[in-house]
Every structure is written in C-alpha cells, then in structure tokens.
C-alpha cells in the first residue's frame, strides 16, 4: 500500500505535464497540427470492388504524405448495398472511429442528431476548403447551415449507359436527345435483333431510377424536394404524370417481360447488356463507369458511353438526379487532427486525381479535369449545367423507401392508370405514418 502511495504523485505529475503539453498543442493552429499529425486514424469504410481499390490507393497516398499516421479501416457488416444497418450496429456497439464514409443525407442527419458528428465549420475556414469546394457543395453537406460533411465525389444518376456497338448495329447515329427519339429507338434496336432495349434491374431498388429522373423532368427539383420532405402528397397529379410517362415507355415495348425485370439485379443487367448483348440501355449511377472499365475490361468512350436523360419538353429538362459521397468526422474519434487532415486531403489534387483515374468525378476544383474519360466528361458537363436533386430514395425515411420500391414493382407489373392510382395511394398511406 505504502509503495503504491509513493508511486502516485509522480504519475499525477506526468499526467498534469502531459495535459499541459496537450493544451499547448491544441492552442497551435490546425494547419500546424496537420503537418505533424501522427497516430492511428480509424475510418468506417463499407465500399467494395473497384471503389475499395480506389479508396486503398487514396489511403496509401495520404499515409505517404503523413508517414506518422497509420490508417485502420473498420468495415461494418453489410447487406444488399445498404451499409447503414451494419454502421448503426457498430456505432451502438461502441465502435469508435474518426471518419465515416457516408452517402445518405438522411443518415447524416441521424448521426448528427445522435451527437456522433462533429461540425466542421471551423476547419472549413482554417483549411480554406471554400477554395476547392463551391458553396453549393458546402450546402449539400450541411445541416441547418452548419457543415458536417465534405463531399469528395459525386455521380450523375440521370445518365443512360449503352454499348456503342449496339447503336451502330441499329443504325442510330447519335444517342436520342428527346423522349420521342428515345421511344422511337426501341423499334430500331429490336429490328437489329435486340429483344430488350432497356434493362431494368427491378429486384431491389434500381427500377426507381427511371421514376426519379422522370419526376425531375416532369415536375422539377423543387417539387421533388417537397415530395422528399412529404410537403406534397404522393397522390399529387405531378407524381402521377411522372409514372404515366414511365408507363408510356413500358407500353412502347422498352423492357420485355416484367418477371425478368423483377428477377434481375444490377449485375445481371450489366451482363445482359455488356456481355450477352441482349439489352441496350441502362439508367444507373456513375460507378458503372468503373465497373465497365475495371471489371468488364471495356474502353470508355469506345466500347461504351452514356447520354443524358432525354428531354421531355415539359419545362424541366435542365434537371438531373445526383448522388454523392462525403466524409463525416466524429465527436469521439481518438485522432481529430488526423481526421481533419484526411478531410483536407480528400479534396486535394492527389486524392482527386486518383479518383478521376478510376472514373469518379470529384467536386473539387483541384481535380485535373483532363484525367476524366469521355463518358465521365459527358456526365460532369451535364451535371454542371443542371439543377440537381439528390437521389429521392436516399432522402426518404427507411420504412417509406421500402414501400416505395415495392409499390414501384407493382407498377411495373401493371402500368395502367388505375393501378398507378392504387400504387400512389399505397405509398402515400405509408408516408403518412413514416415522418
């Protein structure tokens, strides 16, 4: 006992000294800290495939720049493309990370409300992120005007992918620009021997992409934002009009047997178009660029390309659906200095260029635009000239988005006007109890 007591004062002195040193360090400007950062940086990382390869390259470049830092990834248990369940479980289980990779604005709000996210307003000023990211990107990662996320990549979700060989064989010299041209191209493609002009992978969620772009083109971004917040009902005639346009496409013979749509997931649709040459168009996100380049070994711009959603002529053709990925810093992370440095790094030239080489666009002005491939440049230009709205499905409450996707499957089974009313009434009924 006595020995223990005699040991206590030196420990306390050391603790006091360490505390004093830490206090001194924290009083130094964050920029100075960023230069001398060290220790372990923990990132909650849930990506796979080529996204993960790209991410590892980004991490390696960061470590090269900051040799004192080691990066540890925490990978939550996943589930059919939505990692939020695993992320929530990990957080509730007490997992402590410095940075969270996030692609769901609603999840950012949930994390912030639970006190997990650290506001990064001060860092935005200190690191001068406004030089790389415009105000609209800052606003996109903010909640009530306070920034919580640094957006590091974005994707066009209103781009339609196709295989160039198919268009040539069908005698389609240029991708369709208008809705009528688009519908008319189905017959040409069928005449060329392709049974299914549009592949719709409706097994889980991808069938909603068509509705979301059609909603933007028939009702505009403001209406879509109101619908996402349930300030307008799902039974609104504007929503019905978007589904009627979708029905027009189905009735024009776009998509073949509905059972095949409901059986196929995204991977099967890629194979349908880019390997089996059975289908032609696919409306899906920009990760497709990386999949086709890296997994299918196709050449961007030569073997495949994309065109922006055709114009409907209803006054909202300057709209596009987009998704983003952002980094959120946590309040309880053990290494906030390294986290801030990583946030700064991710929108810098090194990270942006790595992403560009993998086929991902960064919103950072530090990115060398010439590194983007031809398809990515088409999408980037389209988004730059558009009023954008985040993917609707990622803005809806969890139980509503589930019902929304199932009801859109019911719509595919029967695209009649009567069933459209039934489908929208069912979504509205769920929305009434979901907010």
């Amino acid at each position: 006992m006595t020995r223990n007591r005699s040991l206590l004062p030196p420990i306390r002195r050391r603790t006091v000294l360490a505390g004093a040193a830490l206090a001194l360090l924290t009083s130094v400007a964050p920029t100075a800290l960023a230069q001398d950062i060290s220790g372990e940086l923990v990132i909650m990382q849930w990506q796979g495939g080529t996204d993960l390869e790209m991410w590892h390259e980004v991490e390696a470049a960061f470590i090269e720049m900051h040799p004192g830092v080691t990066v540890r990834e925490f990978v939550p248990a996943g589930g059919q493309g939505d990692a939020r369940g695993g992320m929530r479980t990990a957080i509730m289980g007490g997992e402590v990370v410095d940075i969270i990779i996030n692609t769901w604005p609603a999840f950012r709000v949930e994390l912030m409300t639970a006190g997990i996210l650290r506001p990064i307003e001060e860092q935005w000023e200190t690191f001068g992120w406004s030089e790389q990211l415009g105000d609209s990107w800052k606003e996109l990662g903010s909640i009530d005007g306070v920034p919580y996320g640094v957006t590091y990549t974005y994707g066009d979700r209103s781009g339609i992918w196709y295989k160039t060989e198919h268009m040539e064989k069908a005698g389609i010299a240029e991708p369709p620009k208008t809705w009528d041209e688009f519908l008319a191209s189905f017959e040409k493609l069928k005449a060329a021997g392709y049974g299914t002009p549009v592949a719709i992978p409706a097994k889980y969620w991808a069938h909603a992409e068509w509705f979301e772009s059609l909603l933007l083109r028939t009702a505009g971004v403001d209406f879509a934002a109101q619908l996402a917040r349930h300030e307008v009902p799902w039974t609104d005639p504007k929503v019905k009009e978007a589904l009627m346009k979708f029905a027009e496409m189905l009735e024009a013979g776009c998509c073949g047997d509905v059972s095949v749509m409901l059986a196929n997931d995204l991977d099967q649709s890629y194979a349908q178009i880019f390997r089996a040459d059975e289908a032609n168009y696919l409306l899906i996100g920009m990760w497709t660029n990386s999949t086709l380049k890296n997994d299918y070994g196709l050449t961007e711009g030569e073997d495949y390309s994309l065109f922006q959603f055709p114009a409907l002529g209803m006054g909202f053709d300057d709209t596009s659906s987009v998704d983003t990925k952002e980094l959120n810093a946590t309040t309880n992370g053990a290494n906030p200095a390294a986290a801030d440095a990583f946030l700064d790094f991710i929108i810098g030239p090194e990270a942006s260029d790595i992403m560009a080489r993998y086929g991902y666009a960064s919103p950072s002005s530090a990115m060398d635009q010439s590194l983007l491939g031809p398809a990515q440049q088409i999408a980037t230009e389209a988004v730059a000239n558009s009023k954008v709205q985040f993917v609707l499905g990622d803005l809806l409450p969890g139980d509503l988005v589930d019902e929304y996707r199932v009801q859109l499957q019911r719509f595919l089974q029967d695209p009649s006007e009567a069933n459209i009313d039934t489908v929208l009434a069912a979504i509205e009924a769920k929305a009434a109890v979901s907010y």
Partner: protein
C-alpha cells in the same frame, strides 16, 4: 448386525457403528467435501453461465426491446405492446405469416417425404447405395448462401439459365423468370430448400429402418412376404420415429429460414417470398426499427415454441 439406513450419504460414506445405526463419515479423510447437490450445481455452473449469456440474456433483452420504439440511432421510447398491435395490424406482416406457413409446410413435406422414400429404397441395398446417400447428404452440408447462388444461376431467366435450357430442349423457345414471377418464386425457393434439406430425413429414416431387428425382417421373409409388403407393413411403420424427428427438425429450420431467401430473392418479387425471418431482418437491420423487429422475433419464437414444446415433451416421455 444393526440395520443400516439406505440414505444417499450412507451410500457414499456411511459405515456401521458398533453402537448401532450409522456413523457418517466422508469418503475422503482429509480436506473438505461438498454435498451432492451443491457439487452438482458447481459442475453445471459453467454451462449455466454460458447458457445464460448466450441464450437467456439475449432472449430477455429481445423481449424487452419489443416494448420500445427504436428508430435508427434515436433514443428508445417505451410503447408497451404498441409494436405487437402495429405488427398484427400490418398487412405486410400478415402476408409474411402466410408465406412462412406455406414455405415451412412445403419444404417439410417435400424434403421429409422424399427423404423417407429414398431411405426405404436405400434400405434394401445399403452398401451399394452408400455413394448415392453421401452425395445427397452433402447437399445438407452446403451453406445455404452457397447453394442459393448456385440455384440463382440454374434458375436465371435468360439463355444461360440451366433449367430454362433443359426445358427448352423439349419446348423450344421456352423461357421463364422463376424467381421474378410472384407465382413461382416461392415454389422455386421451396424446391431449393427441400433439395438442400433432403439429406437429413434420408439419414434419420434410414437409421430408423436399420434399427429394425433383423429377426422381424427374417420372419417376414420366412412367411413369404414380398419386398413391397415388407416395406409397407414393417419398414414404413417402424421408421416412424425417424420421420417424426425429421419433421420436427425440418419444421424448426424452415420456420427460421433466412439465408436462402436473402440470397435468392431478397424477399421479393413484391414481397412474395418474404417470411417472418426475413421481415424481422428487414425491419431490424435495413430499416433499423429494432423494437418492431424484436416484436416480430418474439412472434416467431412463440411459433417455434408451439411446435417444439409438444415434440420435446413427447421425446422426454419416450426417454423415461
């Protein structure tokens, strides 16, 4: 010679006293010894602790969670039996009950009856059918996720789907999206789950048949019974204990089915293959409504208990 009292203690350590009666003394002459009952509790304590941690605590916590409204990372709100009321008013959940019942009865009926018939056939020549039985039982050992991916490729709707290709040989141009049609998706799953599960009933029924005394079969032969009659009047009735165990195990497995549904259909199309197990996962893990998901879990637990308690009572009674 005084009469000794046959007590538990006398059995283990009592010796006759010259004054009559029993002088009790522990077997070990040094140190201390526990009485039987505390010793028994001490010995089973590790198992009890493990059982408490891995079974009792999660069970109680699941029941506790089912009385709360928990959405994402938001604080939990006590709602009493609110989740249960919502659950039974939810047409989606009622639909999963019907799907679960169809799936459970379908897979149990197919796999057990097929396993039983195969066991009867194998019983006539057990040695020559050994490789065949090993092959069938192997399917039971394959992970459901792996067999699910394998069957997705067999059932795929395009020209690469094996089943469509085989049917196409007899009916040119035939094509069907087995997993995309709500009318066939559940039956496709039942077929795959039955394929995966037929090995266990086969082994259990065969074991029951092989335990039939040889003398009974020999007597039947001596009396001139033909193989069909022996199967019908001896092997089938006497293999019933194996069939009962197979039914019990299959029912419990099918009720809790999740892996194969997750991999093959994700509960679709339009929720046509969503069982209570998958509903529970969807509510708890994708929507993160932990309280609501826990309520569904408790309902499933009750269903499992309803099936297993009579079976356990019956088995225990048989053991006596």
């Amino acid at each position: 010679m005084p009469e000794t009292v046959a007590t538990g203690e006398a059995d283990v350590g009592g010796i006759s006293s010259p004054k009559g009666g029993v002088r009790r003394r522990p077997l070990a002459t040094r140190g201390w010894r526990l009485k039987d009952q505390p010793a028994a509790w001490l010995l089973i304590a590790p198992v009890l602790v493990l059982f408490g941690i891995s079974v009792v605590y999660p069970l109680i916590d699941t029941i506790r969670l089912s009385f709360f409204d928990i959405r994402g990372l938001a604080p939990a709100k006590y709602v009493g039996i609110g989740n249960y009321l919502t659950l039974f008013a939810d047409p989606g959940f009622r639909g999963t009950l019907v799907t679960t019942l169809t799936f459970t009865l379908g897979t149990t009926a197919i796999s057990v009856s097929l396993g039983w018939v195969l066991a009867m056939l194998c019983a006539f020549t057990p040695r020559t059918t050994l490789p065949f039985r090993v092959m069938i039982f192997t399917t039971f050992g394959i992970s459901e996720a792996v067999s699910g991916y394998m069957w997705i490729n067999i059932l795929r709707p395009d020209s690469a789907g094996l089943l469509n290709t085989v049917i196409g040989v007899f009916a040119p141009g035939f094509s069907h999206a087995w997993l995309g049609d709500p009318n066939t998706a559940l039956w496709a799953l039942i077929f795959v789950a039955s394929w995966s599960g037929v090995g266990l009933p086969l082994m259990l029924c065969l074991a029951a048949v092989q335990s039939i005394p040889r003398s009974v079969l020999e007597a039947a032969y001596m009396d001139g019974a033909r193989p069909a009659a022996i199967m019908r009047h001896i092997m089938m009735p006497l293999s019933m204990p194996g069939v009962r165990v197979a039914i019990f195990i299959n029912l419990l497995g099918a009720l809790r089915a999740f892996d194969i549904i997750y991999v093959m259909t994700g509960g679709g199309p339009v929720r046509a293959t969503e069982t209570v197990g998958y509903f529970m996962y969807r509510e708890s893990m994708t929507q993160f409504k932990l309280g609501y998901g826990a309520a569904a879990t408790v309902v499933l637990l009750v269903a499992v208990l309803v099936i297993s308690i009579p079976a356990i009572i019956q088995r225990t009674a048989g053991a006596r």
